[in-house]
Symmetry: C3
């Protein structure tokens, strides 16, 4: 872990970045424009923290935590006999604007469409005058599910509103069809469906259960699925959110897996415990050294372009367009976090 | 290998499991029902052992061996000038019910359709009054091949019979088209083709030869192909059978690769030598410790559901639905083996 | 690196192989036949070396270097204000037959179609009486691009000529659609498009920038993409060319990655510096030991076939058809290099 360690300075810089993030993620139906995507703000989602919708103790901790995004959960984190309670709590949180001054994203994960519970969740959460900015659809399995969701959202939101949508890939079938499913989501958007696909989340534990795989600490059994998932998400310019690190006491292991995920192209990671937030936010932030490298590379590249050299040597590596793009990515990410 | 070692007790438990497996896998045309799938028995296929159809010395050893499944081979294990002999031997084995009291699956691998030898194999093996329960189609390459097979089987078996079908993916083309090919197999089944797809086998050595890869002991060159293969097979609820470990004297290496395969989601493995059977059967069986873990997790989950908690901590890990599914998988597998 | 080291003898053998490679890769419009593919010569492309088209110092070094293939570059290796100069230099090289006695392949990489610079590149390079044998299309992204290229080539070359085409996969979208794109290329060829697809090159640095991945020395982040790329290329019988090793001072690391690529099924590798050529050519050549192994295995196989044994043991491994195919591949490759 030695060469991955970041100094306190970096941690402070990154924390202060996060603190000056977006405004409240809430918006109201009274917006004259109606099109909330007009701002096209980038919503960082480095650490995405699950909070069971029926657990006020955990809900009330949210303002003290510094994850980019919180997922108020109706699904797997909520026992069957508490589903009703969870969706009513979440409804109350939005209608009473309980966290409206608070900076992080506050999103809602409904139950899967196949569970039969989704319609009641949507009605509880999306019928009031104040809406969550972002909705999570777990266990996306078929085009029919997306069609159903588009219709439900249209009947609940009308055509003038639009909600950010995050989809979960959690089975062999879903991964196998991921390209077609996301393509279908964009087709629906082009036809006026009231959602905007922004991210995809890899539900690795359901995926492993589905294919009969056993989770190992190094996650070698997930190399194909994680890397295909990233490729597919990025082909559609979606954020790609990596697996949960389930042993929440092993912070070193969490950091290693987070860094690995960031290196694979993931933009963030699901977290299940407050102790996981900081290390995940760090791993998915560009380091000061990396930003420095990117700035210098870009300057050097521009100088060489003017003098007519294409490929050139920089810090012992041959540099051309692709590395320039990587450098620009890093600065862009830092800028997005700093918006 | 230390932390993978299972105790003698476990080995004994597993061996006794296997001994009380299925009845004979043979069935006769005289079944009044005609639909052999009415039982829907799960056929375990942890170790699948090749036996060349022309080699009586090896054939006669079958009853002394404890693999879940034996493949009487007409294809790559049989020299060209012995094909006729192999198929006639196999015909004799079934017609004379030579192993009819014996518990393991006895299946037949015909030659590939492209070889031009398949029709003669099918006619030899499927014309008698007693049929093998399971047929292997090597080198599945195209939808046309599946169409051809469906027609041949219908003309040989009639519509009232049904044979279990296992397909081999052994080339770049076959892997690339695997989803479409298996989908087509199910389409044919829905149209009344007299077979039931139950498993897919990864023919890694032919695959490597086809893409020009070199096999290494760690099989890093096969990470994508193996993991994609599992994902695709499991999306269609097929058993997924892993590669041969070709160095049959290296039992430690075999065990490591078997455990790795099981962790990736494979349900069994091809074996080419009697010395490989026991270790493979072990690696693809749930251990006593794992079954214990699964039972406790399920009990704990049910208790938490009743008290209204969804996610909870168990042995230091956060548990929710996906892990519950894994636990249920493990017990289901043990139950399948114990049927 | 110890067990990978090849002796000087091997290096010499391989070098002399390369020296008696193909004739000049140039051909002229005056060929009465018109169909340059009539020879169906295999063009080895172990090391493919980039040479910026605007840099005479590097261009003039070509005859002293021993890569199988050189890529005269108009694209990423050439600064924007030198594009005109590069394409004119390349035009001059071919029209004046500057390297016509020279054995290696001399190919041209034009700018991507999306750049808007491609048409001018094609016109400069393909209007003269003497044509390069091989054209590289970077950043292949869509079927429309291939349609456009087919039309441009037909208008520049007429129907009686045919140029070898090498395509680059350099983005998430391109990798995701690789099967469909290459399939479309073959459809165009069947419809008379004047090109012959021979190879695909994995542009890993652009790919990483596109998906937001970070390149690591072990390239774990590229396991899926490289292995899928090989599978897809080989399904269409295309040569598969592996990523650039960007740290050109680390020859040991280059050798490790080259051997790994060869083991995965890649047929060659992009190089960016003369110091990388020899080690790459070695890694993608069959070693004398490997050729010896292949010859012995084939002899042994034929002997066993005649005596009626299919599978048999050779050097402690069970051998059947797939390994025989691998052995034949190795000798075929050696023969191709020796044509």
């Amino acid at each position: 872990m030695l060469n991955m360690l970041r100094t306190n300075t970096v941690v402070k810089t990154i924390s202060s970045m996060r603190r000056c993030l977006a405004q409240s993620q809430l918006y109201t139906r009274s917006y004259s424009d109606g099109n909330v995507n007009v701002t096209k703000k980038y919503t960082p989602r480095r650490a995405m923290m699950y909070v069971p919708g029926n657990d006020w103790k955990k809900i009330n901790k949210i303002p003290s935590l510094k994850a980019d995004s919180f997922i108020l959960d109706c699904e797997d984190g909520v026992a069957l006999n508490r589903k009703e309670e969870a969706r009513n709590n979440i409804k109350k949180i939005f209608q009473e604007q309980m966290f409206s001054e608070w900076k992080s994203e506050l999103s809602v994960r409904v139950n899967s469409i196949d569970s039969g519970l989704c319609k009641a969740d949507l009605e509880a959460v999306l019928k009031g005058p104040i809406l969550p900015s972002t909705l999570h659809l777990p266990k996306m399995e078929s085009k029919n599910q997306l069609d159903w969701l588009a219709q439900e959202l249209e009947s609940l939101l009308g055509k003038e509103h639009n909600i950010k949508l995050i989809v979960f890939v959690e089975s062999a079938r879903s991964l196998l069809d991921m390209k077609e499913l996301i393509q279908h989501g964009f087709t629906l958007m082009n036809q006026g469906a009231p959602f905007t696909l922004e991210a995809a989340i890899f539900g690795s534990d359901d995926f492993c259960a589905d294919i009969g795989a056993t989770r190992t600490p190094e996650a070698k059994e997930l190399l194909y699925s994680r890397q295909y998932f990233v490729t597919c998400a990025k082909a559609y310019r979606l954020q790609a959110i990596d697996l949960v690190y389930i042993n929440f006491k092993d912070i070193d292991g969490l950091f290693r897996q987070s860094v690995e995920g960031a290196q694979m192209g993931f933009t963030g990671k699901q977290v299940i415990h407050p102790s996981q937030i900081e290390v995940v936010q760090q791993a998915f932030s560009p380091s000061i050294e990396k930003m420095q490298w990117a700035r210098e590379l870009i300057q050097s590249f521009e100088a060489h372009q003017q003098s007519g050299k294409g490929a050139f040597t920089f810090h012992g590596h041959m540099i051309d367009m692709p590395l320039l793009l990587q450098a620009r990515n890093i600065l862009q990410m830092a800028e997005n976090l700093n918006q």
